[in-house]
């Protein structure tokens, strides 16, 4: 089971350039979504994209900048839900930029989608199914022996 989203991309460009594409609304919009971002801690902004009703996402993401270290780190909250005024998912997006081989390694972590309690439950549940499946297999094996 996947618990977090992690992506690492390498770009043959300086961190400053990547940083611009993460923090300037007009550049960010070119590859991500329409937005009104400002790289200032506490700034509240929104992303707007197409909806995905099958997972309960209306296409609007409500964000607040949590941490800014220019050219190195940017994090914001990422909250969304099925319709206006209903937030069902509260998560966090963290970007880090590291200079590497004359370019930049960009990592994305989208985390907190599952609360700790949910994770514990999910793990216990999977463990439960696995052991039940094993019990069943053992029983079937005994019958056929």
């Amino acid at each position: 089971m996947k618990k977090d989203i992690n992506h690492i991309f390498y770009f043959p460009h300086k961190p400053e350039k990547i940083w611009d594409y993460l923090t300037k609304p007009e550049l960010l919009e070119q590859w991500l979504m329409k937005n009104d971002i400002k790289p200032v801690a506490g700034h509240k902004f929104q992303f707007k994209s197409g909806p995905a009703p099958q997972i309960g996402f209306d296409g609007n993401v409500y964000c607040e900048i949590l941490e800014v270290v220019p050219n190195q780190l940017l994090s914001y909250s990422w909250n969304c839900g099925p319709e206006k005024g209903r937030i069902t998912v509260e998560s966090t997006v963290i970007w880090t930029l590291n200079p590497k081989d004359n370019g930049t390694e960009l990592t994305l972590k989208h985390t907190g989608i599952y609360s700790t309690e949910t994770l514990v439950m999910y793990d216990a549940m999977y463990a439960g199914w696995a052991s039940n499946a094993k019990k069943l297999a053992d029983r079937l094996n005994n019958i056929t022996k």
Binding site: I5, P12, L106, T118, M121, G128
Partner: protein, 105 residues
Amino acid sequence: MTMQTLDSFQAIADPSRRQILNMLLKKSMTINSLAENFDMSRPAVSKHVKVLYNAGFISIQEIGRERHCILRQKGFNELQEWINYFDNFWNTKLKKLEKLLNEKK
């Protein structure tokens, strides 16, 4: 009374409902035996059970006069679909950024 169907995230956001799921992890239980573990009334517990049922986290089996609550995987799978959606979403967007930056080189 018609009850609003809550999605999986909302269904497990409530502490009482999480507690119910945690109890069901160990064994299946009747609504009455679940209710014994809570200070709230049996109808209140029954309402939480219904929310969990509607969101796909439990199934209910009638054995004789008793209704047994059993954990179900479906609710958890919906949470997983959400994470899969955004995993793909980011991958697609980052590839777009890559293309964009390379064009400008």
